[in-house]
């Protein structure tokens, strides 16, 4: 029997049919399946102040309206702010919806209307009259840079900036070649296609079945139990499909609180879907100002690195992400100063957004490297290779693996980089200037504690269960591949269950850790199942004296490698043992010894071609080649889609996306998809993805590093560098809109 590998081969998504037929249920879809009340949220019209009075009589009089909740009649919920802290909460006091009359950001929920129909709830919400005592608000980061300070408490799970090395200021002053600049990117909102929503089904006995737009059902379960004083047995959270996460669904949001609150108070099922503009009350990638300076020898060797970031956070939480570490992860220098500070503004707390911090820091660092290459008269790729770090310079640890040099080489060859003229404005086609740029991407390979269960039936089929979710990442598919490969079953014989808090524990799915963590837990469960199968077989007098390494599992059978002719069907082993099914539990988590000694990252080399209309300043990204070194690739088909998706996000960050605020009102202005631009089909031309062979036995038991974030990390800088190469104009602010490309817009700060 020939071994037919499942892992590492391109496979269609196992949930594909459900998704192309409209059968896959998302949060709001569950509401159409049973009698349910519809809720509509009302957000604050001001950014800071107090609610003086709120009149709900007219809303309550609308036929079909069942209840209107405000801070004045809010049913009981936890008082202490710590009760609202979820798995990934930053330090501070989370917002307690409808807690009191205090307004901390525009759009903060101030009322909830619950009605028999969606139309009645929405209509009635418009009839609520709110009188507010407005206080002066501050939402403009550029105007408050002098208020920047270090967070009072570090956020768990986030790498703080490393301690300074040497004397960066003096080394920069003395450096033969030096560049410095201020880089800024605006606020971005995730805008997953599925709006934030929660559907709460009140079951017999008062137990709650919650469908929440969350990237980890256990986070919602723990939050709801903590806030409403419920037992885990009485709260089950089931979210089998998520219409995109990108970090927006890491934390349980106020719509979850409100829907559960209303369902508990009324004893009836409730659904609450936030409108698109209300997505702007949830959280965002914070506006960040970065000052960067690089000093080098004439041959390009870096002598000094300084990168100082100032980012926005809310008045009530200290949101932190890893922004400044990346430059020193990639490049060594004897003198390094890295710093990250926060400014408290009257905005909602920022929220992890795809590769939080990485494209922010790398846009600045990799643009500055390009400026340094220009000043040195050096090829930008050669400059990076000259400064390539064999170890993680930010921590001093060895890498578990790092095939970045191979990634550079493969991407450059595929792109045709060798033909690039050094000078800008050297390529033109018709009225368009053509430019080529490149940048490096990096993202930490992480693991989180996961559990998994595998169940083998006597008919030879298997079911895998993990509480983690599939955000569109392909988790259903890769876990089916892993179980099929490990147990030697055809993929069609494996069913994967995800997104249910009654399944074995998993934390939120984020940080690119799910494939490595959930995948390793499933592999572990399969190994335990196989050991049990061998024990059963040996109890039946078969395969005596053999250990698990002597047995191969393939085609639904088990046999000694040395005696392939005598193969036992797995179902037969179960039946002979008088068992209908066999269950095994597995687990996986970070290895502390490895973490102590090693640093583990996925790397990418992003090469971009842009065409810029010289008169109109319009930019087209006509080609991106992205070579990714991320350990073992489980499914090249879904993996490629992940990297394409990340690259499209990089195009959006580079050219389109920015939430703009009216700072007098403290409100986001362009809170809709017509004015907040995300890439559309016509914005995306050729994207090529190359996976670099990278064997890594340390990063995770299955050798996987994760792919959710790596595609975006280097892309904005690569596009900015390409725009410079096309036009000769340096892009230090994102998004690189027409007026910036034409040099018609003053810097923000």
């Amino acid at each position: 029997m020939l071994h037919q590998p499942v892992i590492g081969t391109p496979r269609d998504r196992v949930d594909g049919r459900a998704k192309v037929t409209g059968a896959a249920p998302y949060v709001a879809d569950f509401a159409a399946r049973s009698p349910i009340l519809h809720a509509h949220m009302l957000g604050s019209p001001i950014a800071r102040g107090r609610i003086r009075a709120i009149r709900t009589e007219a809303a309550e009089a609308v036929p079909g309206v069942v209840a209107v909740f405000t801070h004045e009649n809010r049913p009981s919920a936890a008082f202490r702010g710590s009760a609202y802290q979820d798995q990934v909460a930053p330090p501070g006091q989370p917002l307690r919806p409808l807690h009191d009359d205090r307004i901390l950001h525009s759009g903060q929920p101030i009322a909830l209307v619950v009605a028999e129909t969606y139309e009645a709830a929405r209509f009635a919400a418009n009839l609520i009259e709110v009188s507010v005592a407005e206080e002066p608000c501050h939402t403009d980061l550029a105007a408050r840079l002098d208020a920047a300070r270090h967070p009072s408490k570090r956020r768990s799970g986030i790498q703080p900036p490393p301690s300074p090395k040497g004397d960066a200021a003096a080394a920069l002053d003395a450096a033969p070649v030096r560049v410095q600049g201020r880089y800024i990117h605006g606020a971005e909102h995730h805008n997953a296609m599925e709006p934030h929503a929660t559907t709460v089904i009140v079951e017999e006995g008062g137990r709650l079945l919650i469908h929440d737009k969350i990237q980890g059902v256990t986070n919602t379960q723990e939050y709801v139990c903590s806030v409403f004083g419920l037992k885990k047995d009485d709260v089950r959270v089931v979210t089998p499909f998520l219409g995109g996460g990108f970090g927006s669904g890491l934390r349980p949001h106020h719509q979850c609180f409100l829907a559960v609150m209303a369902a508990l108070a009324l004893g009836r099922s409730v659904t609450l879907v936030l409108s698109r503009d209300q997505q702007w009350s949830i959280g965002h990638r914070p506006e960040t100002v970065l000052d960067v300076a690089l000093g080098a020898k004439p041959d390009g060797t870096l002598l000094a690195i300084r990168q100082e970031a100032i980012a926005a956070t809310s008045s009530y939480e200290e949101y932190q992400e890893t922004v400044v570490n990346w430059v020193n992860l990639l490049y060594p220098a004897p003198h390094v100063l890295l710093d990250h500070r926060l400014v408290h503004l009257d905005i909602e707390t920022p929220l992890d957004m795809r590769a939080p911090g990485a494209p922010t820091g790398l846009f600045a660092a990799e643009s500055a490297m390009d400026e340094l290459a220009e000043k040195l008269g050096m090829d930008p790729l050669a400059l990076r290779i000259r400064n390539h770090a064999d170890t993680d310079e930010s921590s001093g640890k060895r890498h578990t693996s790092k095939e970045l040099l191979a990634a550079y080489q493969l991407a450059a060859a595929r792109f045709g980089w060798a033909g690039r003229p050094l000078a800008p404005r050297a390529m033109r086609q018709g009225r368009e200037l053509v430019g080529w740029g490149m940048a490096t991407g990096a993202w930490e390979a992480q693991m989180q504690k996961h559990q998994a269960r595998v169940l083998l039936e006597a008919d030879g089929s298997a079911t895998v269960g993990v509480a983690t979710g599939d955000l569109g990442t392909g988790t259903y598919t890769i876990l089916a591949q892993i179980a099929a490969e490990e147990l030697g079953l055809p993929m069609e014989r494996v069913t994967v269950l995800l997104g249910d808090s009654s399944l074995p524990y998993a934390p939120v799915s984020g940080g690119s850790w799910t494939a490595a963590s959930a995948g390793s837990a499933v592999a572990d469960a399969c190994a335990r199942l196989k050991a049990e199968l061998l024990r059963l077989a040996q109890a039946q007098g078969e395969m005596l004296g053999a250990s698990l390494e002597d047995i191969r599992f393939a085609g639904g059978r088990m046999a000694r490698w040395s005696d392939a002719g005598r193969a036992l069907p797995l179902g037969g082993v179960l039946r002979a043992a008088g068992r209908d099914r066999l269950v095994a539990d597995g687990k996986a988590g970070p290895d502390q010894l490895t973490q102590l000694r090693h640093s583990s990252h996925a790397h990418a080399a992003a090469f971009a071609e842009v065409r810029v209309d010289e008169e109109l300043g319009q930019v087209r990204v006509t080609r991106v080649v992205q070579a990714v070194a991320a350990g073992r690739i489980l499914n090249p088909k879904t993996a490629r889609s992940q990297v394409i998706g990340g690259t499209v996000w990089g195009i959006g960050m580079a050219l389109h996306e920015e939430s703009q605020a009216d700072h007098r009102l403290g409100r986001w202005m362009n809170h809709n998809l017509a004015e907040y631009h995300v890439p559309a089909n016509a914005d995306v031309e050729g994207i090529e993805v190359i996976f670099v062979e990278e064997r890594d036995r340390l990063t995770s038991p299955i050798g996987v590093k994760g792919l959710g974030e790596i595609g975006i990390c280097g892309t904005p800088a690569a596009i900015g560098n390409a725009i410079w190469h096309a036009t000769g104009r340096r892009m230090r602010e994102l998004p690189m809109t027409v007026e910036r490309v034409l040099g018609l817009k003053a810097p923000r700060a």
Partner: protein, 164 residues
């Protein structure tokens, strides 16, 4: 506010429609959108509400042969019309529409939330004859946002079906 002056929602209308080949009766308020009528009234939740403003395309259905954003159509204004949704693309025996199969083969989606709209748009685009080149497909599919960024694969899937 005195009761007789309070704004009141209007009463219900009965609207006959053909949905995926079957005659259906909607009992709806005049302000109900086609999208909400399909989802809440008929339980056809394949069509998605992504923005409710005609800006994202997730609710795209085929109305009398043309693709429309169902969130921008008042259901009551379409009495007697024929609506085709994602649930109506496959054959009665479950055989997928060639574009549905091509979406799976080319991995033309990730989270799947925009997919029903992409498929309805793609099917109508093929019938309209707007799938002549990659550039044409990209342009005519730009009313359907895919935040996962599956655009290159969507184009490949439509190209494959168009070339048959």
């Amino acid at each position: 506010m005195p009761d007789d002056l309070a704004p009141r929602p209007p009463g219900l209308l009965t609207v006959p429609l053909t949905v995926n080949g079957a005659p259906r009766q909607l009992h709806i308020a005049p302000w109900t959108t086609l999208l909400d009528a399909l989802r809440d009234g008929l339980g056809l939740t394949g069509s998605k509400k992504g923005c409710d403003h005609g800006q994202c395309g997730a609710c795209t259905v085929i109305l009398d042969g043309k693709r429309v954003n169902a969130c921008l159509v008042l259901a009551a204004s379409k009495e007697g019309s024929e609506v085709r949704t994602v649930e109506g693309l496959a054959s009665a025996d479950g055989t997928l529409h060639p574009l549905q199969q091509a979406f799976i083969t080319h991995d033309a989606f990730q989270c799947g939330f925009c997919t029903p709209g992409q498929l309805c748009s793609g099917v109508a685009l093929l019938e309209e004859g707007h799938a002549g080149s990659e550039a044409e497909i990209r342009e005519w599919m730009s009313g359907n946002i895919c935040r996962c960024g599956a655009y290159p694969n969507i184009v490949d899937a439509i190209r494959e079906v168009a070339s048959r």
